[in-house]
């Protein structure tokens, strides 16, 4: 629920820099502490993208831009940018 909340905020351009660390920490928590195989592997896609596409996450946060054009905020920078 919490992971989804952060990712959703990313796509809307509402995320802040600390969210990235929190996202990483929570994925690791889920992977290490889960009892079953589902919990242990479920965060893997998020962790992989954090590892290989970190600059895209950073673009969402700092420039409020989605380089891949998949999110609500779009490829173009939002006018005015971050207040």
């Amino acid at each position: 629920v919490q992971l989804h909340d952060i990712l959703l905020r990313m796509t809307r351009g509402d995320a802040v820099a600390s969210d990235l660390d929190l996202l990483q920490e929570m994925c690791e928590l889920l992977r290490e502490t889960s009892l079953c195989g589902l919990g242990q592997t479920a965060p893997n896609p998020v962790l992989s993208t954090l590892k290989y596409f970190r600059q895209e996450y950073e673009a969402h946060i700092h420039d409020r831009v989605c380089p891949a054009g998949q999110c609500e905020i779009g490829v173009q920078a939002v006018e005015g940018g971050r207040p």
Binding site: V1, Q2, D5, S18, L22, E25, M26, L29, E32, T33, L35
Partner: protein
């Protein structure tokens, strides 16, 4: 009886083969945090707060579920474990509406104590604020699920010690709720014997005795030990 010798946090300790790491650690003054474990009922290893590192094992193990073995080397409080525990407790806080200042258990709450111990001064996560009803239908007790951490101590004590099994969990994940019987009001429950064991084992103020105001409620955790010991020694016949 063969005794197992192991090392916990650099301290050499001994335990019986059927004992868990958790029990042996507490006997030796090493307090592993816990939320779902309580002496006298079965362990489920659900809260994940008692997770420990055991050398030679890739995964973290729940101390309350792992039996001691000869030559184990256990670490209970590494930086990594403390970070995990902190986030786990933050998740518990964010999941329900925990407001210590208006809670009957303020000052004696296990969740509150845990947060203090782990140095949690704020929660980094977004609160979920689930809309939850309070069940005050029972004549002597009340239930406020806003304060529930789903440790299921009440479920287990009701089933295993009292034998009534009034409580159980409905729903999954974030939608899990403790319910009495088949989701009826607690006061309307046929199986409840009003023994109050669930109230005494509840780590937070989710189950409370009516008539207590803020920070007045104190719980007696020792009673369970008497019952279980007496039963083991057959001090009464059922």
């Amino acid at each position: 009886v063969s005794v197992r010798t192991l090392e916990i946090d650099g301290k050499s300790v001994t335990g019986l083969p059927e004992q868990t790491i958790f029990d042996v650690a507490w006997e030796n003054g090493i307090k592993i945090p816990r939320m779902c474990h309580i002496g006298g009922v079965s362990n489920i290893g659900a809260c994940r707060l008692c997770l420990v590192e055991i050398e030679g094992r890739r995964k973290l193990q729940a101390a309350c579920m792992t039996k001691v073995e000869e030559g184990m080397v256990v670490h209970t409080s590494t930086d990594r474990l403390r970070a995990f525990r902190r986030l786990l407790v933050e998740l518990l806080f964010a999941e329900r509406n925990h407001v210590c200042s208006v809670c009957v258990m303020n000052g004696a709450c296990e969740l509150q104590d845990m947060a203090t111990e782990l140095g949690i001064d704020h929660v980094r996560l977004r609160y979920q604020f689930p809309p939850i009803q309070v069940d005050n239908s029972h004549e002597r007790f009340g239930m406020d699920q806003n304060r529930c951490v789903l440790c299921t101590r009440c479920v287990r004590v009701c089933d295993e010690v009292e034998g009534a099994h009034t409580w159980d969990i409905a729903g999954r994940g974030a939608n899990s709720r403790v319910i009495s019987d088949l989701g009826e009001a607690w006061g309307a429950s046929d199986s409840c014997t009003s023994c109050g064991k669930c109230v005494q084992v509840c780590p937070t103020g989710a189950l409370f005795v009516k008539g207590k105001t803020v920070a007045e409620m104190r719980k007696d955790r020792g009673f369970l030990k008497y019952i279980v010991t007496a039963r083991e020694k057959h001090q009464w016949v059922r």
